[in-house]
Each structure stands twice: as C-alpha cells, then as structure tokens.
Symmetry: C2
DNA sequence: GTGATTGCAAATCTTTTGCACTAAA
DNA sequence: TTTAGTGCAAAAGATTTGCAATCAC
C-alpha cells in the first residue's frame, strides 16, 4: 500500500466515485498522520472545516471505505465504533477513561505461542488491546 | 476464587441481595460450564426456563455482577455486549459470522515481547481476540 | 440520460432511566 | 419499617434505511 497515493486514485481503485463528500472526508482522514475516528468525531471535524455532509453519509462512507480496505474498524468500546486509517497489522493501547486510542506497531508485540485455529477455520485477524488505567497523556 | 461456591454465598459476598431474579439468573449462568451471554440471550434463556424477569433487570443484573467481579465484559462486536462467566485471565476465539465465542486458556498464548505502558499509566488488562473465518463448529 | 450517491427524517436496535410498586432485611 | 430491587414504559444513543433530489460519468 502506498500511503501517499493521491486521494483520487485511492477512491478510483476502490471503485468509489469521487464525490465531493467522499473526497472531503478522505482528505480529512488520509492527509496527515494516521488517525482514529468515530462517525461522530469525523462529522464534527467535517463541520469545523466547513464541509457540508450529513451524519448518515459519514456512516455510509466509513463503511464503504472499510469494505474497500481503506480503513479498518476497531472494536474496543461497546458504545461506539472506531475506524483506523492504519490498515496494516498492528495493535492498540486504549485509555478507557478518555476513549483515547494509540497504535502499537506490530513489532512491539511478539507472540511466542499461539493456539491453532479450530479445525475448518482460519485466522482472519488477531487483535490485541492493552487497556490502560491512569493519567492521560 | 472458588468456582463451586454456592450461588447464595457469591451474592452475599458481592453485597447483592439474593432476590428471586438474581438467584435465577445466577443459576442459569453459573451452574454448569463457563459460558458467554448477551443480555438478549440470557433474557431468552430465562423465559425458556419460565423465569419471569424483565430485560431491564437482566441488563442491571449483568452490570451489577460485572462490578462485583462475578462476570467479565468482553468487547468483541460493536452490535452487542458479551459477558463471560470466566473471570480469570484468558483470551478468545470469535467467529464473526455466527457470533460464537470460545475461550482460549491463558497458557495457550504467550507474549514474548510487550511494549511498556506509556509513562504514568498502568496496564489494566490485555485482551487478545483471534477472529476466525470458516465453518462453524 | 442513467445509475450511483446524498440528505433528511423516520425507523431500528441496544441499552439506560424515572418512577411507582414490591420484597428483603 | 426501611431501603434495595423490580418492572414497565419512555428516553437516550448509535446506527440504518427509505426515498426523492442531486451528481458523476
């Protein structure tokens, strides 16, 4: 994956029409460093940047991007869904108090032993979440 | 923790009055093998066993038991909360298709390397979820 | 043009809450 | 008694959906 491939190319490659809303949301998420968003936070960010887009479209876009492999959904809190612009193999720190999420590069966690998947199944992904207590950065 | 301590003692120790509803739900969950429930599934199970209890009380009870350390909440699917009667250190297999959850004993996953928690924080828990694709058992 | 996409509002689903009623201590 | 616990229905959040209007190709 080429992280700096222009937004337009990424949408084309994903088979998604580059509409004004998708382009704007993609720019908010993919320009700059990797980030974690919720539908609510992305919608708020859009409004701050004077991008007119409905919350329903934000939800739709997040799911379309996730299906297209542009985003990865992280299940970490029953109250809301997080999406991560970093789709490569990695893990997470999570501050339960504040809802802050931080990436852990995959080479920082090495599993010495893993169970074999039950017969007939294959491992789709291994998620490691380190839940933290204590002060927020 | 003594897994076979009578239900009544467990509730007393947790400071929870042994009401008809709590006793019945506790029996459904704690008698027999460890299991994973959702509010919905436990409510359905109660109805099957002719236990009259409202869904609101099931939710309340699950959270009270979790606060008391009798249950552990597992965040695995944004669509609903799972509760595990096994509160000891362990991990999970998850079949995304069917919502089936299966315990992985803690000695089946050994982490050779872990990142240190950010300054000022402590690790509250490490959750490992192995997401599976393929046939259901 | 034509089919994909959007916005809005309404619907859905899970979970929580207010409050009068009931039961445990 | 006195206080905790319950049930119901209503409320609250997050997410989804139906459908007419709009946009990309």
């Amino acid at each position: 994956m080429r992280p700096f491939r222009p937004i337009l190319d990424r949408l084309h490659q994903a088979g998604l029409r580059p509409t004004r809303q998708r382009m704007a949301l993609a720019k908010l998420m993919f320009e700059g460093r990797d980030c974690h968003v919720t539908a609510e936070s992305l919608h708020a960010q859009a409004i701050t940047h004077r991008v007119r887009v409905s919350l329903a479209t934000v939800y739709n876009t997040l799911h379309q991007f996730t299906s297209a492999g542009l985003l990865r959904e992280i299940v970490i809190d029953a109250a809301r869904s997080y999406f991560d612009t970093n789709t490569s193999d990695h893990h997470h720190f999570y501050w339960e108090g504040t809802g802050l999420l931080e990436d852990i590069p995959s080479d920082q966690i090495i599993m010495e032993k893993l169970p074999s998947p039950p017969p007939g199944t294959t491992i789709k992904r291994i998620d490691v979440v380190i839940r933290l207590a204590g002060c927020t950065k």
